[in-house]
């Protein structure tokens, strides 16, 4: 496409706005919230996913899927600025919220960075059409922060690899189609030099997906047991034993969160996001005039708006090379801390109704459960402690923590017992 054929961002925005207004419903996050709160039956949850798949297809058919993805892979070949304009116009409208993270970023992002031409031509269009949903298989029962210490093992057998091991804490794996998986291919090399990335469908022999109940009753968490899973070498992403090169970018995409140019979602900092509004909580229990409550409402809005501006700043700085990729950890840390604070604020405003409620308490009902789940945004997607390590060591250049495992053959690295179910049982 020549420069002249690329539509200007503002013209595009106007066109997107009118399409969105006449084709998408107003946003309604009740099923999303109910799903996260563990209040939906399996059938309701699947119906919600199907609805989002159809929404994604609708975006694709109208030419609004993969806005900044190359046309060769089914995208629109436009710029991140076009995607941003579309996202801004999306504020207040229904969109496939569950299909963004990890499906588009990091999964599609990693495929675009490291996938073979064949892999990209096969998988990206299917993601863009909502036909295939992807999951990341990264964390293991033995640890999620130390990603490079993966125990799941792939052994070569001719043109195939045989995978064994277990992955855990994968949200929504039970309704997903494909997984992006980090596995160990060399136990004699130091941990970062013996990893390889593979892709495979989740619903097949040898892949056993178990749902795990979270403390709020949700069963979105899953654990996968891999038993002699055969993966063709053509489904390897990146070079053998070079999985950490892929993994580093993977982690970057994960930290970019909703700032990734592959994400279709209203920008952070707009009041109509899925989160429960503190104004609603205050109104529903009649404390809107309490100056202490107003202080909390002000704080919540402040944190949310600053997050939007921070993401924009970090995104721009990283894209232009003014800041290294590692800078994404700054936005990640902010997000975790402020999202956790938002839950505390809602709980505090709700007063005793936050701890004991009836259904007609409106927005105040259930805020105590959110509080119980408060740390989730500080853990999911790599913990805030990991983000702090990255910022201090990679952005500020402070000395790395002393570790004993960097140069040891991986099989000699000390290990503790694993969390979750025992994968070898």
């Amino acid at each position: 496409m020549t420069a002249a054929e690329v539509e200007g961002v503002e013209g595009y925005r106007v066109r997107a706005r009118s399409w969105i207004r006449s084709n998408l419903e107003p946003a309604d996050f009740t099923t999303l919230e109910a799903g996260l709160a563990g209040e939906l039956s399996e059938a309701e949850e699947l119906a919600a996913i199907d609805h989002e798949r159809r929404l994604q297809r609708k975006l694709f058919d109208a030419g609004y899927a993969g806005i900044s993805i190359d046309r060769d892979y089914g995208g629109q070949g436009l710029s991140p600025a076009h995607q941003r304009a579309f996202n801004e116009e999306l504020t207040g409208f229904d969109y496939p919220a569950r299909l963004q993270v990890p499906n588009f970023s990091p999964c599609a992002a990693v495929l675009l960075d490291f996938g073979t031409e064949d892999q990209k031509r096969t998988h990206i269009p299917a993601i863009l059409k909502g036909e295939k949903l992807w999951m990341q298989l990264l964390s293991e029962p033995s640890g999620g922060s130390d990603v490079a210490a993966a125990l799941t093992t792939a052994v070569r057998d001719g043109d195939e690899w045989i995978l064994n091991g277990s992955k855990i804490w994968t949200t929504g794996a039970w309704w997903s189609d494909w997984g992006l998986c980090l596995a160990r291919t060399n136990w004699d090399a130091p941990k970062h030099r013996g990893l390889t990335v593979f892709i495979f469908p989740l619903h097949r022999d040898g892949v056993d997906v178990h749902r795990i109940e979270m403390l709020n009753g949700s069963k979105e968490f899953c654990q996968e047991f891999l038993t002699d899973v055969r993966v063709p070498d053509s489904d390897r992403v990146g070079d053998v034993d070079q999985g950490w090169t892929v993994g580093t970018r993977w982690m970057f995409h994960e930290r970019m969160l909703y700032n990734s140019p592959l994400i279709t979602a209203p920008p952070t900092g707009r009041p109509t996001q899925g989160a429960v509004s503190p104004v609603g909580v205050a109104r529903d229990i009649g404390v809107l005039d309490d100056p202490r409550v107003r202080d909390l409402i002000g704080e919540a809005r402040m944190l949310e708006m600053v997050e939007g501006e921070l993401q924009e700043r970090i995104g721009t700085a990283v894209r232009s090379g003014r800041m290294s990729d590692q800078g994404a950890a700054i936005a990640r840390l902010y997000h975790g801390v402020s999202a956790a604070r938002a839950r505390s604020i809602n709980f505090e405003i709700a007063g005793a109704t936050g701890a004991a409620w009836v259904d007609d308490d409106g927005s105040a009902a259930g805020r105590g459960i959110d509080f119980l789940m408060r740390q989730s945004p500080c853990i999911a997607g790599g913990t805030t402690e990991m983000a702090r390590n990255v910022i201090s060591e990679r952005v500020l250049g402070m000395p790395r923590d002393r570790t004993t495992d960097r140069d040891l053959p991986f099989r000699e690295v000390p290990r503790g017992p694993a969390a979750g179910a025992d994968s070898r049982s």
């Binding site: 009041p271 600053v306 700043r313 700085a317 390590n389």
Partner: protein, 395 residues
């Protein structure tokens, strides 16, 4: 071991134009030589708090002219003077520099706004001499706006009496009111606002110097006891200046925020360097995870403050519909986290961080002062809340 910090720092305004870069650099150089920490300490007991010649030379660098249109002798470098001014203010913060940057700019902008018609720029001569004096740095101004009794409270009154205007009330803290050549007093007239420009020494005006946390900024209680001035002293119209006053407030807040971000940045850099150089238990402080994690938090507050300072400055410069919300968000966030960040810098310095000899307090002083002027973080959270509730209850 040295920090790689300087290679990764992202400056105020992510992508300044070459002209903006030049503006910033010349001020940075000038302040480095003319507003050294020794000079700031020397000014501690100086009743004026800055050197007149320093201020005139600063005016030549553009410190006072950016908010005034060319037709009146001012001019910006990028076409958006307020954004340009944030670059200067940022350097002021990085140096804890002396001089009445906020009041002089706010008053110059207010006079210019009243002198230039909204459509075709036509100079009304009433205040153009004063504008000229402020732009050249020959004179400085004070904006007498705040009062006690809570942010936004206004008891000072201006009433029209024939061809005169009569002012009564007390303003505090009024920056530079005892040093400035002109005072712009904001008062109420019925439900509306009136602004009056008063030359210093006008009968009925008394100015009592205050003590303050900053070493070089000066504040006073300015009392107006039935002060009579010709009607020409009114800036704009009697009783109809509310919108202008609100904009002036936002401009002042933009400048303060940019300055605080500069002070935060400097304190943070000093502390990063300290953490690399200071050893304890045989290794640098920068190697302890507890401290590394606090630096990560501080870096996050710093980048966030940059981000919201820039975004709110853009909104105020453009008089965007969400400017009021954004500027309160910025003032609340920077006011709060500016203090948190620099206090943690003090903590990580240990005992020396509490001494007069160390430079850290220069930046702590500036950030502390700025967080309280024109609305504390708590005041602005109330404002944000009011706007948020109105939005949600309407939509």
């Amino acid at each position: 071991m040295t920090s790689i910090f300087s290679t990764v720092v992202v400056t105020m305004l992510l992508e300044p134009t070459p002209d903006q870069e030049f503006l910033k650099e010349t001020t940075a150089k000038f302040l480095t030589s003319q507003a050294s920490v020794a000079e700031i300490r020397r000014l501690r007991d100086d009743p004026i708090g800055f050197d007149r010649d320093y201020w005139r030379r600063g005016a030549d660098l553009g410190w006072t002219s950016l908010l005034v249109p060319e037709a009146l002798g001012g001019g910006s470098v990028s076409g958006r003077g307020l954004i340009d001014l944030t670059l200067i203010a940022h350097e002021f913060g990085r140096h804890a520099a002396p001089g009445p940057l906020v009041p002089t700019n706010v008053v110059a902008a207010a006079l210019a706004a009243s002198a230039v018609g909204p459509s075709a720029p036509s100079v009304s001569t009433e205040h153009s001499d004063v504008i000229g004096a402020l732009l050249s740095g020959r004179a400085t101004a004070s904006w007498c706006m705040e009062e006690t009794g809570g942010f936004g409270r206004m008891t000072t009154e201006a009433r029209r009496d024939g061809q005169e205007v009569v002012l009564s009330g007390t303003k505090r803290p009024a920056e530079s009111a005892a040093q400035a050549d002109f005072l712009l007093v904001t008062a109420k007239t019925g439900e509306g606002a009136t602004q009056v420009l008063i030359p210093s020494g006008t009968p009925g005006v008394s100015v009592r110097p205050m003590q303050t946390v900053d070493l070089t900024r000066r504040f006073a209680v300015a009392t107006f006891d039935e002060v009579r001035l010709p009607i020409a002293a009114v800036v704009g119209e009697v009783g109809s200046a509310s919108e202008e006053v609100e904009h002036q407030l936002r401009v002042a807040q933009v400048i303060l925020n940019a300055e605080t971000v500069g002070a935060m940045e400097r304190a943070f850099e000093m502390t990063v360097e300290w953490a690399f150089d200071r050893y304890s238990f045989g290794r640098p402080l920068a190697s302890y995870q507890e401290l590394k994690h606090r630096f990560a938090d501080m870096k996050t507050w710093l980048e966030s403050s940059h981000a919201i300072a820039d975004a709110s400055a853009e909104a105020v410069a453009a008089k965007a519909p969400d400017a009021g919300l954004l500027i309160s968000v910025a003032k609340a966030f920077i006011g709060h986290y500016g203090g948190e960040l620099i206090q943690d810098c003090v903590q990580i310095h240990g005992g020396i961080g509490l001494t007069f000899e160390h430079d850290l307090h220069l930046f702590l002083r500036r950030a502390t002062l700025n967080s309280s002027l024109f609305g504390t973080p708590a005041d602005h959270r109330q404002r944000i809340s009011t706007i948020t509730i109105a939005e949600e209850c309407a939509g």
